[in-house]
């Protein structure tokens, strides 16, 4: 861990100023990911701006037809909030599919958006990694890539975004509220995380001088027909090999609006709107689901160890859509898959 200075600004405005004055600063809240990465010598900030106690960011509030979750709301508080559970159970379920109670107690909504990949090479400074050291190379492509991406990869990086929460937020079309020196702006979830391209060191479109204020969820539409299905290498406390957030509007057996986002397969939660459109007006049916899965996985490409993810993702999409259509969402405590 390198030497760093530390500041705990008293207001959002101060925090933004603090950040602007220190280009190599990092924002810290729960610290569940950043502190690890600093110990591993992967992140080497010279200055930490602790936003953990900023006023006004710890609330869950009504926002028009939707709900606004402050950046400092813990993952636990968000998952167990009655309004979230009732109106956005997909989000609650996705959060509870991740990490452990201890981590969820410490981790924040904003921090979860910014957590970094679990690629083994990114975590090991003794190896090259374009995300950690731009230009150093990507040994993962020909190396141990079991947990890595099959969609949206680039020759420079095949990392995945590890969050469960973000997969649900993507499916729900949440909007990330941020603030910087030029004031506030909104970033739709679809644009918040990036694909690696030739700048894999950049995970998101958040500017270095901006901080996250919270996420806004639009009008709830998927409280009945949803699921978060997470497949991993043990039954709990592991990052997703593949996860699927599925949300449907149903009229009897007929599907209305549909949303599907995949986790564990790309550098960002993966959505294919044309595939979602394929469901509209259709009767919930395995064959339809299979066609949708095919469309979502179009162009998916493994790198050896992770080849199986293409088939697994296809199967997971079909199962998740079946669960959502039936209105039998995956339990996050009963490990039997519905």
């Amino acid at each position: 861990m390198n030497r760093f200075s530390y500041a705990r600004p008293g207001s959002v405005a101060d925090a933004v100023r603090e950040l602007a004055g220190h280009p190599a600063a990092k924002v810290i809240a729960g610290g569940t990911n950043l502190v690890d990465l600093m110990k591993y010598n992967v992140e080497r900030p010279t200055h930490l701006v602790d936003v953990g106690r900023l006023p006004g960011l710890k609330e869950i509030e009504e926002a028009g037809e939707g709900l606004r979750i402050g950046a400092l709301v813990s993952n636990t508080a968000a998952a167990y909030d009655e309004r979230v559970k009732e109106r956005y159970p997909l989000l609650s379920s996705a959060i509870l599919a991740g990490a452990s109670p201890q981590l969820r107690n410490a981790a924040t909504t904003g921090g979860n958006l910014l957590q970094r990949t679990r690629c083994y090479y990114f975590y090991d400074p003794a190896t090259p990694c374009n995300k950690r050291e731009p230009g150093s190379g990507c040994p993962a492509k020909n190396g141990q890539n079991r947990i890595l991406a099959i969609l949206g990869t680039s020759e420079h990086c095949i990392a995945t975004h590890p969050s469960d929460m973000c997969v649900a937020l993507a499916a729900l079309e949440a909007v990330v509220k941020v603030v910087g020196p030029n004031g506030e702006r909104s970033i739709p979830m679809a644009d918040f995380h990036r694909l690696p391209g030739n700048m894999p060191e950049k995970d998101t479109n958040l500017h270095a001088d901006e901080i996250i204020l919270g996420v806004e969820l639009p009008e709830p539409r998927f409280a009945k027909h949803y699921t978060y299905l997470k497949l991993r290498d043990r039954l709990s406390y592991a990052f997703a090999l593949v996860s699927v957030a599925a949300a449907l509007e149903m009229d009897g057996d007929t599907i209305g609006e549909a949303r599907i986002a995949l986790g564990g397969v790309a550098h960002k939660p993966w959505r294919v709107e044309e595939a979602e459109m394929m469901l509209r007006g259709k009767t919930a049916d395995r064959r339809v689901f299979a066609a949708v899965a095919e469309r979502i996985l179009e162009g998916a490409q493994g790198f050896g160890h992770n080849d199986f993810k293409v088939d697994l993702a296809r199967r997971a999409v079909i199962r998740a859509l079946s669960q959502a259509a039936r209105g039998t969402p995956q339990s996050q405590t009963d490990k039997r898959i519905q």
Binding site: Y123, D233, Y237, R315
Partner: protein, 746 residues
């Protein structure tokens, strides 16, 4: 009724200390002016260091010294000096010896600083240039270079008997398969650590994470040329080890080196990542072939293995011997070769070689049963052996038959439809599988001391270790019974090199060895005490012999008339002593070793549920029936079997150290990515201890439990997966991709 401590469930005597954080582990001992070391590890797998620049690291305020191969103090130059009590044949790795890199993760520098954070930061500033050479870490690429090691510390494969090839050829029902189990790292909860306290005048006190403190002491003496009186090792608690603490590890060398050189106390703790930079359960390419007659009589067993070792030591396990010992079979042949890789030397990990060898052989038995259309339980009873056919010697005891029967009954095995894919509920196929396990039961020469004081307190002590198994507790139970004292009056001491000699605790021999030594020492105290009691004028005990009295509740009383007694205090007063001390050594019986074979046995029954479409496997039920001699403490004994079973679940479904062969390096070196079972993966585990009388293995009737729990479980799980899905998976761990990617057997 009077209840003895031995045989009764007892809480751990060290339990309160452990859960309240007052049981000190190696990294928790402290000393005035303690400096902290942080290790720098090699980024390449093979080659040499061409330059190592420590300037920036040394410039960090608070850094005391950076040790490398260029400035390390002189230590023993002969590699034999580095050979510890359980070193395999070869030339042990010598930390910071020269510029050569033997494996990725090799320690190449130690930064010593005023605090841990400074040391860690400065370590990141050490710049190393390498000249890399072509390395090899992939066992499949060196098959052809495999050789039969000249010397081995583990038992070699048993001699061939009969003619396995011919019998295989002529038998009507046969199976053959290639098997592999992923490399595993031990990952005990407590990382390896050494705190070396500088006592002045060249003397040190060492707190080391080790399964035998005298092994550490001997290693330090040999390597640093110190005398026994200069090195005192005190390591009373071990936070799990599973074999990783049998041999002194590099952090010990580095901490001692730094302390002696700086004349200052030094602590070196390995990070979780660094726990992947030394020993591990080896890789192995196994081939098993079995054949039977139509009636299920086993005719032939062949078991061949190519295992990996390092370039500097020949590490071997028993592995291929188990298949030849489990059943009656006249034709057996096993071979064991090793091939060298540019890695650290693999080492013993809980039941080394046993689940590794039994997974293929018990899978083959299951496959054979499937071909025969035979109940796997019936097959095992039909081919039951009462004699160890590898040696021709009878077993000291073997109640595996009872274990099979009781286990099957508890599990409900008789309701099994032997056809694969015959049970389904919702999306899940249900499978029931079984396997048997074996582990050697042995004693090692071990000494113990007992001291009884006039206040009615008893202290028993040995230099052995309690690696979390409950050794302290069984020592206290045995001692309390021997002298008829409440268990609260007994103090057990372990993990101190100044205590009576003991080997490393491992191999499941701890309870039999330390327990017997404690009992012998307590009996010696009892003899003396009885002598004093008899010596009292008009002793209430009259002319009774020692066998005619009982030691209970602080009294020595006539068995025939317990109202006639002498208290311990009165006896000691009469003898004019305020303490009675005795030291005894327990040794394995030569007759037993010569004439018998001694093993613990297990039968594991497992239910799995497999979501076939998604490849998700859940273990939902386990029954483990254990025949392991006398059970000293059913509570801690059960915990040992639970732990072993969980280890087995890990081997079957989760654990895998993934190497990048391009880099020659294990990559998932943290416990977020190296998966061990979590609560959700562990179902209800039902443990049965079968009555088994055995006074040949050890005088106290004990066979040991540390390892038998893991032996059968991986194979039983794999067999249950087959029963559920019809898929025979021959590579562990059984992960989602393997379920999806394996075809159903014909």
């Amino acid at each position: 009724m009077y209840e003895t401590h031995v045989g009764s469930p007892r809480n751990r005597v060290d339990g309160r200390k452990k859960v309240t954080g007052t049981a000190p582990y190696a990294a928790e001992f402290t000393a005035p002016d303690l400096a902290q070391g942080y290790v720098v590890n090699s980024a390449i797998a093979k080659g040499r260091i061409t330059a190592i620049d420590t300037k920036d690291a040394l410039a960090v305020p608070g850094v005391i010294q950076v040790f490398t191969h260029q400035n390390r103090p002189r230590t023993a130059w002969r590699s034999t000096a580095y050979q510890d009590e359980v070193a395999p044949p070869g030339k042990p790795f010598r930390p910071l010896y020269d510029e050569r890199i033997h494996y990725s993760g090799q320690p190449i520098a130690l930064v010593v600083a005023e605090d841990f954070e400074i040391a860690r930061y400065a370590a990141s500033l050490v710049r190393v240039s390498y000249e890399a050479e072509q390395h090899q870490t992939d066992l499949t690429k060196v098959r052809e270079q495999a050789y039969t090691p000249k010397y081995r510390t583990s038992m070699g494969p048993p001699s061939p008997r009969g003619d396995a090839e011919a019998a295989f050829g002529r038998s009507p029902v046969k199976v053959e398969g290639s098997y592999r189990i992923a490399v595993e790292h031990h990952n005990p909860m407590e990382p390896h650590a050494s705190t070396v306290v500088w006592e002045g005048d060249g003397k040190i006190t060492v707190h080391d994470k080790i399964q035998g403190c005298q092994n550490t002491q001997r290693y330090i003496r040999q390597v640093f040329g110190l005398s026994a009186s200069d090195v005192h090792v005190i390591s009373p608690y071990v936070g799990g080890a599973f074999g990783s603490g049998l041999r002194p590890q590099y952090q010990l060398f580095l901490a001692v080196m730094a302390a002696l050189e700086l004349k200052r106390s030094v602590r070196v703790v390995l990070t979780r990542d660094q726990m992947f930079t030394f020993t591990y359960r080896p890789d192995g390419l196994q081939e098993v072939a079995m054949a039977a007659n139509e009636d299920g009589a086993l005719q032939a067993i062949r078991h061949d293995l190519i295992g990996n070792t390092s370039t500097f030591e020949d590490y071997t396990e028993q592995t291929v011997g188990w298949s030849g010992m489990t059943y009656h079979c006249e034709n057996y042949k096993g071979t064991y070769k090793v091939a060298q890789l540019d890695t650290y030397t693999p080492g013993d990990m809980r039941a080394p070689g046993a689940p590794t060898g039994l997974f293929p052989s018990e899978s083959a038995v299951d496959e054979l049963c499937h071909k025969l259309g035979m109940d796997p339980l019936k097959f095992r009873l039909k081919n039951y052996n009462q004699v160890d056919e590898a040696t021709g010697k009878p077993f000291t005891s073997k109640e595996l038959r009872a274990a099979l029967q009781l286990g099957a009954e508890r599990f409900g095995w008789s309701k099994r439809n032997h056809k694969p894919r015959s049970m389904k509920e919702g999306n899940e196929l249900i499978g029931w599988g079984m396997a048997v396990g074996m582990w050697e039961a042995a004693m090692q020469k071990t000494a113990a001391r007992a001291v009884l004081t006039i206040d009615g307190k008893l202290e028993v002590a040995s230099a052995s270790a309690d690696i979390g198994t409950g050794t302290y507790t069984i020592m206290a139970q045995i001692a309390a019974d021997a002298l008829g004292l409440p268990i609260e009056k007994v103090t057990a001491l372990l993990g101190d090199s100044s205590l009576p000699s003991a080997p490393v605790e491992g191999g499941s021999w701890g309870a039999a060895s330390t327990g017997t030594a404690v009992e012998l020492a307590c009996h010696a105290v009892r003899e003396k005490l009885f002598g004093y009691a008899r010596g009292i004028n008009d002793s209430p005990l009259g002319a009774a012999g020692v066998n005619e009295v009982q030691f209970r509740e602080g009294r020595i009383a006539l068995i025939s008339d317990p109202s006639r007694f002498v208290t311990i205090q009165d006896a000691m007063v009469a003898g004019g002593v305020d303490r009675i001390e005795a030291e005894e050594t327990a040794s394995p019986s030569k007759i037993t070793m010569l004439k018998y074979s001694s093993y613990a046995h297990s039968a594991a029954f497992v239910e799995v549920r497999v979501d076939e479409e998604l490849g998700v496997v859940r273990v939902t039920r386990v029954v483990q029936a254990i025949a392991a001699g006398r059970i000293l403490n059913p509570k801690t004994a059960r915990s040992q079997i639970l732990g072993g079973t969980v280890f087995g679940i890990g081997m079957a479904l989760h654990e895998e150290s993934m190497a990048d062969h391009n880099l020659g390096r294990f990559m998932n070196h943290n416990i977020a990515e190296y998966h061990i079972p979590v609560n959700a993966d562990v179902p209800n585990i039902d443990v049965i201890f079968v009555d088994e009388h055995d006074d040949l293995t050890s005088p106290i009737g004990v066979k040991g439990l540390g390892e038998i729990g893991i032996c059968a479980s991986p194979a039983a799980i794999a067999n249950a997966v087959f029963h559920a899905t019809g898929k025979r998976i021959r590579e562990l761990p059984i992960t989602i991709d393997k379920i999806l990617g394996t075809k159903e057997a014909a």
